[in-house]
């Protein structure tokens, strides 16, 4: 019964989305008020029904109801409960239901509390949201029904793949979906504003928490994904420009640009059409990313999620949403009144540079990712990698960092060079000192050298907005900006230092042999067989000492799984504040030697600390914005109450 109940809830929710769409667009015309009055209730009810459907699916997985095809395929009665539950979204159908549910909840929340925008814009926004939602409902109900029953339930489920029983892997898809859904809300707001031509600072303020929320999830998702690739793949790298990595980076770049342009719109009523366009582009990039990953038209490590038919469905949705929104944009953009003007040397000017640079990097990554598809049309097979992305991206990334260091010090509208001369000179001196110091002491390649100098500049510049202000009374949003920008400096320093100073040793070592790698001396004490629940492994015991200090043990493994047969490398990491020793065990070499790959990676962990700081900064800004909105709301309510008393 639970499965049928879930399916019924889903169909009803889809019908309500249809009603919401009709009502939203009826509200744009005179005489449509009666239908329009149904929009907010429909959105709230739709959210409840969708949540019910998702809870029903969770319930089925928790009980391991094997008469449901999805459960039989993806679960097993012996799994720990947490992995039974995460199994609910660890597959195509369930993850689509999760997406739809989160989206419906977001829509319900907006319908329930958001009253700051003109009602027509709100109706159009909720209508657009229902339109996006309907596509996903169709996808679910027509071609990927999560509640489908099996005529003959099997005795046991198929899903006991321990490789997938990983808490990180369980949280990975929801993190991305929260990000994508946040961007879909921003998209709906952009479409709503286009339909009513109401692009105002208030619109940006309403949209901003959703962008921030999406951006935080995407930031943390990318940071976690990068660390996963680093320790799981055993190649010692933290970014490979793989199509799937690019698919997550592109929405992040667009969301970062959107976040900053929405700030300009909110504070200064400028960049109106540009913000709208970015709102459309950011969601487009998440759809393009989903399409590239799921359709399998690009070869990548995520090939397990591939299905060309689903690819066709996503492509159709992509064409309808993005094509439709862009046609609307092309027709309407000319009729949206121009916003406020500003001087080039101003906070707005700096944010425009940020936006242009981020958009350019987005274009570069998009082109590099799709280029193999384009050349295949002419029967030329190419693969695009770091030799393209790194230098070409740096052309825009490095100037953007210069502006990032200085921009937050500038005033809105117009500033003078005399006023910011002192801090700018201070930042430049720090950057040049680091540049010269690193160059003469170490002799480093150009890109990492510039990276380290700019990291220092950004670190100094990012904390300068705190100077001369009362730290206790500083708004949380400013703290958020400072911490996020400082995080950029930290991550950048980690990337540059690792690239410049990492020391790799590839050796075939005998038992008892001692190897030096940078400041480390490492002794191969033993290689022993060990066994796990469904694997056997060779485990090396490495005794490592940093600059002759205390001996630490590292135990890298070369693992062989037998269901399915697969070889993996379990690297061993020794973490210090200033870097990591990364050890991977290869196979046996001739003459009782063992292949060892050792890397000393100075400051590599700072990359992920920086990523976490960036996300934390976003979170502070989000809390600050929402809290001040709530304060303003209750203040307004009090005024209304007082007025009421006076009138009485």
């Amino acid at each position: 019964m639970i499965a049928e109940f879930g399916l019924a809830a889903l169909w009803l929710a889809a019908a309500l989305a249809g009603l919401q769409l009709l009502g939203g667009f009826a509200g744009l015309r005179p005489g449509g008020e009666r239908l329009a009055a149904l929009v907010r209730p429909a959105a709230v009810l739709q959210a409840l029904l969708c949540a019910l459907a998702f809870v029903a699916l969770l319930w089925l997985f928790a009980r391991t109801d094997l008469s449901v095809a999805l459960v039989a395929k993806n679960s097993h009665s012996m799994k720990p409960l947490i992995f039974k539950l995460s199994g609910a979204w660890g597959n195509h159908e369930g993850s689509m239901l999760l997406w739809v549910s989160v989206m419906a909840l977001a829509g319900g929340l907006i319908a329930l509390i958001e009253r700051r925008l003109p009602e027509r814009t709100m109706l159009a926004t909720l209508g657009a949201q229902a339109f996006v939602g309907l596509g996903f409902y169709a996808f679910l109900l027509v071609s990927s029904n999560p509640f489908e029953r099996l005529p003959q339930p099997p005795a046991e489920g198929l899903g006991l793949n321990p490789l997938l029983q990983d808490i990180g892997l369980a949280m990975h898809p929801p993190t991305l979906y929260f990000g994508y859904v946040g961007l879909s809300v921003a998209f709906s707001f952009a479409v709503g504003a286009l339909l009513t031509r109401q692009v105002t600072p208030e619109f940006a303020k309403v949209m901003r928490p959703w962008i921030l929320g999406a951006w935080i999830f995407l930031t943390l998702g990318i940071t976690a994904g990068s660390y996963w690739a680093y320790y799981e793949l055993g190649w010692g790298g933290w970014w490979f420009w793989d199509p799937v990595e690019n698919a997550s980076l592109m929405p992040w770049l667009a969301a970062t640009a959107l976040l900053h342009s929405a700030s300009v719109l909110a504070a200064r009523d400028a960049l109106r059409t540009w913000t709208i366009l970015l709102g459309v582009v950011a969601f487009s990039m998440s759809m393009v990313g989903t399409f590239l990953v799921r359709s399998g038209i690009l070869t990548s490590v995520h090939a397990f999620a591939v299905d060309p038919e689903r690819g066709a469905f996503i492509l159709a949705l992509l064409a309808i949403y993005i094509g439709g929104a862009l046609v609307l944009f092309t027709l309407r953009a000319g009729t949206i009144a121009e916003g406020e003007r500003f001087a080039m040397l101003s906070r707005e000017g700096a944010l425009v540079v940020n936006n242009v640079a981020l958009s350019a990097i987005l274009g570069i990554v998009l082109l590099g990712t799709l280029y193999p598809l384009l050349t295949e049309a002419f029967d030329v097979r190419v693969s695009v990698g770091p030799p393209y992305f790194n230098p070409v991206g740096a052309i825009f990334f490095l100037p953007m960092l210069v502006v990032l260091a200085i921009g937050p010090l500038l005033r809105w509208r117009r500033d003078s060079f005399e006023r910011v001369q002192k801090p700018v000179v201070a930042i430049a001196v720090v950057a040049l000192a680091v540049l010269a110091g690193v160059h003469f002491i170490a002799g480093v390649a150009l890109l990492p050298l510039l990276g380290m100098a700019l990291a220092a500049a950004v670190a100094v510049g990012s904390v300068m907005p705190l100077a001369g202000r009362s730290l206790r009374r500083l708004p949380l949003a400013v703290w958020g900006m400072v911490i996020a920008h400082f995080g950029v400096a930290v991550a950048l320093f980690g990337m540059a230092a690792d690239t410049a100073f990492q020391q790799e040793r590839l050796v075939a070592a005998r038992i008892g042999e001692t190897i030096t790698d940078g400041p480390w001396t490492i002794t191969l004490a033993a290689v022993e067989p060990v066994a796990g629940p469904n694997w056997t492994a060779l485990e090396a015991r490495l005794e490592a000492s940093y600059k002759g200090g205390e001996v630490q043990l590292a135990r890298p493994q070369a693992r062989s799984f037998w269901t399915p047969p697969q070889e993996t490398s379990e690297v061993a990491l020794l973490t210090r504040w200033n870097g990591q020793l990364y050890a991977a065990l290869g196979g046996e070499a001739e003459g009782e030697r063992w292949q060892l790959r050792l890397w000393w990676k100075p400051f590599v962990t700072w990359i992920w600390y920086g990523g976490i700081l960036i996300g934390l900064g976003g979170l502070l800004a989000l809390i600050g914005r929402v809290a001040s909105d709530l304060r303003r709301r209750s203040a307004r309510a009090q005024i209304a109450v007082r007025r009421g008393e006076v009138a009485a």
Partner: protein, 175 residues
């Protein structure tokens, strides 16, 4: 600026069209050599086993078309294609080989077990020749004409149905 917006729109639809077209196409996962139709780069490999001479690019330009088999003793599909290499040899094809990253005793044991259809076997310990002719794995089989020009590349093991195809390509190369 409105032309810019239309250009953007056109670019987006062109991109969507590209996606749709790629999606509808059969996916070819093989990386084909870009050396097909070009003369084989000069090389001179020592012998991989005692009873067969080594292989040089001059041997491949002696006027007679040949099959060049890229193999290794540690490669399972190479063992699987051995009967079909024997059939090709029996049909009159001259087959030479390059052994990739291998040890002489292992190659000898492999040929002992699965048969030796090769007239010459070069020893390519660092895949230098393999890479120079655009081969990305083992086994692969190339058709080389009498002037030493690469005419055809077969990727993967030779299945039963591939034997007549390779013989036909060899005949064309000789014409």
């Amino acid at each position: 600026m409105s032309w810019l917006r239309w250009a953007l729109l056109a670019a987006v639809f062109a991109g969507l069209g590209l996606f749709a077209w790629q999606l509808s196409r059969e996916k070819d996962e093989f990386v084909h050599s870009t050396m097909i139709g070009k003369p084989i780069p000069p090389f001179d490999l020592p012998a991989a086993v005692a009873d067969r001479p080594g292989l040089s690019s001059r041997d491949l330009a002696d006027g007679r078309p040949k099959l060049l088999n890229v193999f290794a003793s540690w490669c399972v599909p190479c063992a699987a294609e051995a009967p079909n290499l024997a059939r090709l040899e029996a049909s009159g094809a001259e087959i030479v080989a390059v052994a990739i990253r291998d040890r002489p005793e292992d190659v000898a044991a492999f040929l002992e077990r699965y048969g030796n259809p090769f007239t010459r076997i070069g020893k390519d310990d660092i895949s230098a020749v393999q890479l120079s002719i655009g081969s990305s794995g083992v086994p692969e089989t190339f058709v080389i004409d009498g002037k030493g020009v690469i005419r055809h590349q077969h990727i993967g093991d030779i299945r039963d149905g591939d034997v007549p195809v390779l013989l036909e390509k060899l005949r064309e190369a000789g014409a």
